[in-house]
């Protein structure tokens, strides 16, 4: 910038002996405030580390770790299927059902939100802006807190989990869907308008076919996330595999902790793989 700005000053640089290449190729300028930033960072980390009461590990820590690991490698296979009531398969099925129900619910709710907050679907920026703001507020609410609210309404159990996931996922899915709508090709829209289509026909024949693969792909992606979330909802009593896991942890039943962890890992890996395959074919 500085050397090239003046055209009269165009001299061909010659390399003289002893002069380094630095004058020809200027080094990138360093940030003047880098020392200040460094000091600030050190101060922040000193503050953070000083505030953590680190008093050494419990002497049983190694023993418990060993117990959990041996629990993973010698799991309590009997727990996989019990004829009466709470077992691993039913817990996992419950988790899966919560995430399917929650994902479906949020997809339904978020479609109007997505059209509301897509900039090319409304004339004024205020409308889409307000939609986007609402979506980001929903997004910042943790699903656990939402589950606490819904437990109050429908009592503890899986349904509260479905509702919590359904509402929480709207924040992210609505934003992704709105982005997808904003990226559509205007050609089909104009062609249909020229042929005299009304707004509903425009939506049905020009918008939906373009956004559907993206919508489905994002829904599957959110489903993967929701399966993970559904496994922790049980911690506060909103159903799923989390409840027996917390119970096994508090009763120090390490073999059972092992088999539940194994079940979660296998289920999530399988779902990720299947959903990944479908998404690859979709887009």
């Amino acid at each position: 910038m500085r050397t090239n700005s003046n055209p009269t000053n165009k001299t061909i640089p010659t390399v003289r002996a002893g002069k380094s290449w630095d004058t020809l190729v200027p080094k990138p300028r360093k940030n003047r405030y880098r020392w200040l930033i460094l000091v600030a960072l050190i101060a922040v980390y000193a503050w953070a580390l000083a505030g953590i009461p680190f008093t050494g590990f419990k002497e049983t820590a190694a023993q418990i770790t060993k117990a959990i690991i041996s629990g993973i490698f010698s799991p309590d296979w009997d727990y996989v299927y019990l004829p009466d009531g709470e077992d691993l398969l039913r817990g996992l099925l419950d988790t899966l059902a919560i995430s399917i129900g929650g994902t479906f619910l949020s997809t339904l709710i978020c479609i109007p939100f997505a059209f509301w907050s897509a900039t090319n679907m409304s004339r004024s920026g205020a409308i889409s802006g307000s939609g986007k703001l609402l979506l980001s507020i929903i997004r910042t609410f943790p699903e656990i807190v939402m589950a606490i609210l819904f437990i109050k309404a429908v009592g503890p159990g899986s349904f509260a989990g479905v509702l919590a996931l359904g509402l929480h996922s709207v924040g992210m899915l609505g934003k992704l869907f709105a982005d997808e709508i904003e990226n559509i090709d205007r050609g089909p829209l104009e062609a249909l308008t020229a042929a005299g289509a009304n707004r509903l026909q425009l939506l049905w024949f020009a918008v939906i076919p373009q956004v559907l693969p993206g919508f489905l792909s994002y829904t599957l992606y959110r489903f993967e996330i929701n399966v993970r979330s559904a496994t922790i909802l049980g911690v506060i009593g909103a159903g799923g595999i989390g409840t027996p896991l917390i119970f096994a942890l508090s009763t120090r039943n390490w073999d059972r902790v092992g088999i539940i962890l194994l079940g979660i890992i296998v289920m999530i890996t399988a779902i990720d793989a299947i959903s990944g395959l479908i998404r690859k074919r979709l887009v």
């Binding site: 419950d94 129900g101 479906f104 943790p142 656990i144 606490i148 989990g161």
Partner: protein, 263 residues
Amino acid sequence: MKANTELKRPKPPGRLKLYMTGALLILLLWGSFIQTEANFGELISGLPNMMDLLREMFPPKWSYFEKITDAMLETIRMALIGTTAGAILAVPIALLCASNMVGSAWIFYPVRLLLNLIRTIPDLLLAALFVAIFGLGPVPGIFALTVFSIGLIAKLTYEALETIDHGPLEAMTSVGANRLQKIIFAVIPQIQAHFMSYTLYTFEINIRAAAILGLVGAGGIGHYYEVTLGFLEYDKTSTIIIFTLAIVLIIDFASTKLREKLL
């Protein structure tokens, strides 16, 4: 010219697959709603309860801020230390995962598999496990966040590593640089902005996660959810929620601005 080649309409694509997929989806949904005992009548009849709860939450008890400030600071500390430790540990793992950094598929496939397995366990479950191992307090929370951050940062970084420009690497090889020199002068300058950006992004996620880790006894502000909900002091609960939202939004804003500058 005679139109003996009559215009043939293309056959519409088969509908059977669509119908089958639709039927399968409906079956899945129906099964899920049965399994979770979904009852929307119950939701509607329960809504007044929820409204009562929301009404009790307002106005929030502002004086409660002072009591939970320490816990909030602890939450931020946990997220900060967890993210940093995770980011540092993620570097060697990301290098081992990238197919253009290690030549042998015998190394990068197993490491990637391990990484995928780590990422399947949600942070709250990790925290519950570490609480069982180390006892109550912020230390198990930090460990949980560290493990979680390793999974996320290492994955994003190795994917970025695989897309780096090979020119500088070849240039370094041609002037006789060794492996370490190649990494320092050809890889790190290309990857560091991405790496910082991913670390900041993970920090945003970890702040949210750290705010609820207390529910399983892993330190931070989450512990106060249980305290206030247990004593039915919903006005205090809403104070916690608002405080957390404010902190999350501030950190998100700052981090987004920093990331825009980086990339």
